[in-house]
Each structure stands twice: as structure tokens, then as C-alpha cells.
Symmetry: C2
Subunit: 459 residues, 2 copies
């Protein structure tokens, strides 16, 4: 057993305690009242990088939520690896559905339950721990390491592209490791070779100047809730296909061979249904569930509200109605173009008697793919094969990590997904958790990957 | 000038102050946390009846919100008049749109602004003041008077029918005067000869067991918000017609003569549009706006909610979605049958992959009509003609006063609408107000009507 691995074992309890500390910070980037907590999480991470032995670790301002940078660059002739992750988290509502409070991390059955446990604080911290173990036992790293850890991933990283563009030299690297990633299961390693993109918007529907009595006015004035329902219903066919003109135009068609590769990835439909708690799956016809998540775009209503929502009855004809919608996009869809198509669809379908305002959201990310034969992919493949005792699958992720496409465009480097989250970990939902076993296995995996990358010439 | 009229003038300031007192009680019947306030309003009204000279005035329990009863029965051989009104009010949200707080009544430009000012505390109180003025100046009333004032009108009077059925002797009367009514304008008196009925329900749509990440799961699981939008959109054709099978089956068709009577009622479409703040009216094709409000049924979504509704973006695939809907009904629609038709429609249109639960609401009222030649109508007509200097129109009301049908069925007496609310008074909406001029004119009108009814034989 290498010295770094013994170090990891010796400090196991301490590292878990550190994870709990980080999880106690309610760094919800979507809610302005938590901006101070996001900043606090940034400072926690910067201090943790310094403690691990990284140099120049600091929170840096972006104009929005901060990023944290740190580096260790004393491996001349070796590749430079940029490790990416995020310390911001999703909102926690509906709060009532949490078994224990989201920011009071609790360990039950080898899992730590807290908002951000899996996405992404657990995955982020394990990479820092791996670097620390290497540095403290060998006084050196096998590669040059830079860290870029952000605080605005959950709101679509609005200021990050400009930050990356403005700091190309600081962030220059050969390959990026993305700790905001996952594995198929505890026994099935996966290399993520694709991410979906995203775009989001809010739809506001306005009717009368004020709420009206549905008796005195009902029948004469358009109801914004009806109009919104009609508008939202027009976005899909009843079979689940998106009906926005041109929406599928740029979607890359996967050939039989690529679809066979996806079909090879284990997917237990019964277990999946039982996990999410539905009796039947539903989605675009003609595609398997994994294809629908990985290589087909979606359009979801994320929220919808208007009128009287309290207990009891109020016979009101409300003055306005609202919805938040977002699309998951696949190669080669352009999020800006999709937003335009959606706006055109909505403009064409505005129901009678209401005004509709569309507010494109901040979340905007291109879909992303990494070549299967990229050297970083090959190294990661070897490490996962050794650790899990089997070759990893080539998987994709239905979610979006907007920064991958930014890194490729601005730094000219590909991003390798190297995280240990699993599908059932209630990410973005109540009772999010992370397995402590994944936390520890991930530390070993990261250290091995840095060693493996150190054997390479700069890629 | 009769003595009672001078009395009204002499006590004008005092009566306005009493109205403000009553308006300060937030007696919102729809919200359980205000149950104590509804009770408090009942006690206020009972004390006010006693002060006015009524006997046996008291709050009586119903199993839900209380009613208040009081009587003066010392006019043998004269008709017995039951005066009805309500002291409960609608909820106040959206609170932010009120110019001054809803339960801090404020007088501006001769109007008192507060929740319940017009509906129905102002109208209710003015009738009590009229009775007091008669009693204090003549020591007697021209008719026998009973009061039944309720605290659950705004939630559809769930316990009132049983209360009325159980107290038929106590409430026995020749005619009922309904203070929860209105006039067409300050110069156009109106006799209300019809009310719409109502039924209401909540629709709950359930998908996955928890909220899901729209990236990891989007495309495989039905989105309850989409399903709800689809379901709600299915209730109407784009032109506004209700598409529920059988919905219009029992609707009484009005002949050319009756439609001409409605067409004679002044309706300034430009002023109406400007009042509600819309550029175009919208409703069932083939009917005038007044016909749509008075003699055609409607189906409105009163509220709709689900998913993430906070600031910012949350790419969630929510687990549930909800809507409250209600229908306004016209002769001869049966609210129970309409609920069944709606349930059948929803059951037939349940979208794929979700579960739908329909919860019929408590609001349930039959539509109601009073014969034009009813003696109470004739007396009211004479009083209004004298006070306004012109014959009143025969109008209807788009709203519902469920108790009218209950009175007819249980007490065998018709209800004459005799209130002074006007259409623009923001009833059920922010900045509800009542004109002090209406408050005072209504006092005179009520006293005159009681005198006029005293000239009649028992009807």
C-alpha cells in the first residue's frame, strides 16, 4: 500500500468531519439571501486548499458568486491538470420532505445526508484530500495541479465564462478533471463522455390589472392561468414529443453502433421505476430511457404558479400567472437558438386576451462531448478498471456542466468527468446523500489518476 | 324629513366609525388561522344588533363558523322580514398590491378602503343602522324583523343549509332581504333577479416520489406540471367555450325577449375594459359580456402551483402539481352534477404517467332566480325608483349567494337582493372599497323598504 493510501486511511474520521463542516454552510447560489453563505463556502474551500499544500489559494471575485483558485506547479515536464468542482448547492424546498434538516448533515447507514453531499461538496472535497495525501507523503505531486472551484454552477455559471476568458494564462492546462460527475453504480464504473446542455426561461402571463371576482367578471376577461396552461400544453404533444418548430432540427442522430453502445449500459427499468416511485416511464417515443436522458433533448416545466394557492376556496380570477421552463440540450443544439425557437413558439401561441412576457434565464450551457480516445479518458479508464475490477462503460449524463464547453473553447482543453456520485443520491431533491464508501474510494481514485497522468507526456 | 332620517344624519360620523371598527376584524373564513377573528366579528355584530334594539341577539354555532341571529317581533299582522348578510371576508393576497393594509380601513375621496368594505360589512351594517334609526325614533318597526348574519359565505356556507333546516321555526319569514347585493351604478338602480351558482374543486397531480433532477431524469418520467397544464387546457376550447361533455346540457336558453331585457341594461364596454385593465374582452362566443356574466356558466382556474417558484433557476422535475378550479352555474345546472361531469372529464383526460386526485370543494351553490312580480320585488322597485329618480333595471349577478336557494327550499321564502355595492369596488381583490355615499343612501333605502313592506299584507 502506497504511503498516500495509508495516510488516507489514518485520517478517515478527520476527513469525514471536514465534509460535515463544509455541508453545514447553506451555500445556495440561487437565493440572493444566501450570497454570504456562498462566499463563506468559498473561503472554507480556499483555506482547505492551503491546508492541503496548494499555493496561492484564494477566493476570486467574478462579479457574481466567487470562484476559488489554487495551484501546485512544481512538476516541470509533467502535464498540468486543472481540477474543477463547485461549492454552491441547489435550494432545499420542499423543506418538509427532508428527513433531517438539509444543512445539518447526518450520517445514517454509511451515507451522509445533506444538501450538496453528492452535488458537489463530497466529490469536490475528496479530490482535495487526494492531493493532500500525495503532497504530505511524497512532498510532491506527480503532475502540476491547478484548482478552479466555483460558486455558481447551480445557477448556470453566469459569470464563469467571462472569468475563464479573462484568466486564460492562470488557468492554462493540458486536461481538466471534473469532480462534478458520477458513476453508474457502486460496481459499474463509467466514463462520462457527454453532457447535455441547458437553457431556461420564465414565462409571465398578464390579464386584468388586478385580481377579479370570478362571479362578477368570470366570462368576460381572459384568465391568465388558463392561458398559461394552454401555452404550456402547446409545447408537447400528448405522447411527450416537443412540438416547438425546429426544436429537433440540429439534434445529432446517433447511428446503430452508437445506440448499441448505449444499449450495452446496464439499465434496470424495474429498479429505476421503483427508485423514482412511478408505475410507468414516460418520454419521447422511439427511444430507450437512457437514450432519452443522454442523447435526446427535453423541455420541462420546473415551476408554475398563480392565483390563490392557500387552503380553502377563493373564487378569484387572477391577474397573472407564471412558469419557469428549461430545456436539456444535446449535440449540436445551440442554447441561444433554442431560446429563440421557444420565444417564437410562444409568440405564435399567445392565447386571446392576455399579454405574455418571456424572460430568458441565466442558465445557458452548450451540450458537450469528449473524444473516447482522449489521453485523459484513457488514463481515467485504466484507474477505474483497476479500482472496480472491470472496464468502465462509456456513459453520458443528462445534466449539464456548462463550464466544460467553456473550458474547451477558452483553454483548448477537454474535461474528463471524474466523480463518484450515483444516480439514486437525490441530487436537487430532498434527502440528498453521498455514500461514505464513494467518498473514500474517490480519494484513492483521484490519487491514482494523478499518478497515471504523471506517467504521460503532456497531452 | 322623517325623524329616522334626521337620526341617520345626526349620527353619520358615529356610524362611519362603527364601520371602520368592524372592518378592522380580519374575519377571513377561508383561513383556519383566522377562525378566532370570524368569531370575534360574530360577537361584534351580535352586540351591534342588541345596541340597535333587536332582541335575543346572539352568535349561534353551526359546527363551523358561527351565524348571528336577532329579532324584533312586535308588529302583529305585519310581514316578517328576514335580513341576511355576512361578516366574513375573502383572503387578502396578493397583499403587496394593497395601497393601504386590508385591515386598517382608510378613507380616501369618500371611499373606505378595506377588505370586506363592500362585500359585505358595509352593506350589512347599513341595514342594522336603518333598523336602529326606526326603532330609536318610533320605538317600533313597521314590520317584524329577524336577522340571520353568517360567517361562512366566502367559503360557500358549508354548514348554513343544515343550520337553516334545523331552525325553520326560528327563521320563519315572509320575505328575505339580502344585503349582499348591489346596484349597477350610483345613478342606475337595479333589482337583482338572478344569481349564478357555484361548484369548486382541487386537482392534485402526482408523478415521481420526490422532486427529481431534470438532467438526470428528464425524459423518462412524466412531469406533473405538464400533465396539469394539459389537463387544464383540455377544459376549454381556445375560443373560451367549455369542452366538458354535458356541461351546457341543462343550461336554460334565454329567448329573444329575455335577451333584449339584458341588452337594455347599460354596459359601457370601453369603460369596463378600462376598469379591469384589458385591451380586449374574452369569453364564450355568441354572447354579450353581460350575458356571459349573468346567464352563461363559466369555469375558471382560481389557483395553480407546483415545482420551484422562488427567485432564480432550479432545474427540477417536480413530484406534484395542484390547481383549484371553480364553475359559475346558471339555471338549471345542478352543482353536484357539474362536479360529476368535471370528474368524468378529468378521469378521461388523465395524461400518461401521472396520478390525478380530484377533491370536490366545499363551495357548492345552486343558481337562483326570483319572480319579477314578487311583492318584495315590487316594494323594492318602488323604493329604488323614488330614491334614484328612475325605474330600476332588472339585473342579475354573476356571483353566487348560496343561501338564497337554501332559503327558498327550507323557508319557502324568496330573497330580494337589496344591497348597494357597485361593480368597480374591487370585491375579492386588492384595494376593495365601499362608497360612503352608498353607505348612507343604503341606510335610507333600507328604512324606506321596511316601511313599504309594512304597508303590505303578509306576502
Amino acid at each position: 500500500m502506497p504511503a498516500w493510501e495509508r495516510h488516507l486511511q489514518d485520517h478517515r474520521q478527520e476527513y469525514v468531519a471536514q465534509l460535515l463542516d463544509l455541508l453545514r454552510i447553506p451555500s445556495i447560489s440561487a437565493l440572493p439571501e444566501h450570497a454570504g453563505d456562498v462566499q463563506r463556502a468559498a473561503e472554507w474551500v480556499a483555506q482547505r486548499l492551503t491546508a492541503a499544500g496548494l499555493e496561492g489559494a484564494r477566493a476570486m471575485s467574478t462579479g457574481g458568486h466567487p470562484v476559488v483558485y489554487g495551484e501546485w506547479l512544481h512538476a516541470p515536464g509533467k502535464p498540468t491538470v486543472l481540477i474543477y468542482g463547485h461549492f454552491d448547492v441547489q435550494p432545499v424546498d420542499p423543506l418538509a420532505l427532508w428527513t433531517t434538516p438539509p444543512f445539518e448533515p447526518t450520517i445514517r447507514d454509511g451515507r451522509v445526508y445533506a444538501r450538496g453531499a453528492s452535488d458537489d461538496k463530497g466529490n469536490l472535497l475528496l479530490s482535495i484530500i487526494a492531493v493532500e495525501a500525495l503532497l504530505q507523503t511524497a512532498d510532491a505531486l506527480p503532475v502540476n495541479v491547478k484548482y478552479l472551484i466555483e460558486g455558481q454552477e447551480e445557477i448556470g455559471s453566469p459569470q464563469l465564462p467571462a472569468f475563464v476568458a479573462a484568466h486564460k494564462e492562470l488557468l492554462a492546462c493540458d486536461v481538466i478533471l471534473n469532480a462534478d460527475s458520477g458513476q453508474l453504480s457502486e460496481t459499474e464504473p463509467t466514463l462520462l463522455v457527454g453532457l447535455r446542455g441547458v437553457c431556461a426561461m420564465e414565462i409571465d402571463v398578464y390579464g386584468a390589472r388586478t385580481d377579479l371576482h370570478s362571479g362578477s367578471f368570470g366570462g368576460t376577461v381572459a384568465n391568465p392561468l388558463h392561458a398559461l396552461a394552454e401555452l404550456l400544453a402547446s409545447l408537447h404533444a400528448p405522447d411527450g414529443r416537443i412540438t416547438v418548430d425546429g426544436f429537433y432540427d440540429d439534434v445529432v442522430t446517433f447511428g446503430p453502433e452508437e445506440r448499441a453502445q448505449i444499449a450495452a449500459v446496464p439499465f434496470d427499468e424495474a429498479a429505476f421505476k421503483s427508485q423514482v416511485g412511478v408505475e410507468e416511464l414516460f418520454g419521447e417515443p422511439g427511444y430507450s430511457p437512457l437514450e432519452r436522458i443522454w442523447i435526446r433533448p427535453t423541455l420541462e416545466i420546473n415551476g408554475m404558479w398563480g392565483g390563490f394557492t392557500g387552503e380553502g376556496t377563493k373564487t378569484v380570477l387572477p391577474q397573472e400567472a407564471h412558469a419557469k421552463i428549461s430545456c436539456r440540450l444535446v449535440p449540436n443544439q445551440d442554447p441561444a437558438r433554442i431560446q429563440q425557437l421557444l420565444q417564437a413558439h410562444i409568440a405564435k401561441h399567445v392565447p386571446h386576451g392576455v399579454k405574455v412576457v418571456v424572460r430568458p434565464g441565466m442558465a445557458l450551457a452548450y451540450p458537450y462531448e469528449v473524444p473516447l480516445d482522449h489521453p485523459g479518458n484513457i488514463a481515467a479508464r485504466a484507474v477505474l478498471a483497476e479500482l472496480y475490477g472491470r472496464e468502465p462503460y462509456y456513459g453520458r449524463m443528462g445534466g449539464s456542466v456548462p463550464v466544460c464547453e467553456t473550458f474547451l473553447r477558452r483553454l483548448g482543453a477537454y474535461t474528463i468527468g471524474f466523480g463518484f456520485g450515483l444516480l439514486d443520491e437525490q441530487v436537487h431533491a430532498p434527502d440528498e446523500f453521498f455514500r461514505l464508501a464513494s467518498f473514500e474510494r474517490g480519494q484513492v481514485a483521484f490519487a491514482k489518476l494523478l499518478e497515471k497522468l504523471g506517467e504521460e507526456k503532456p497531452v
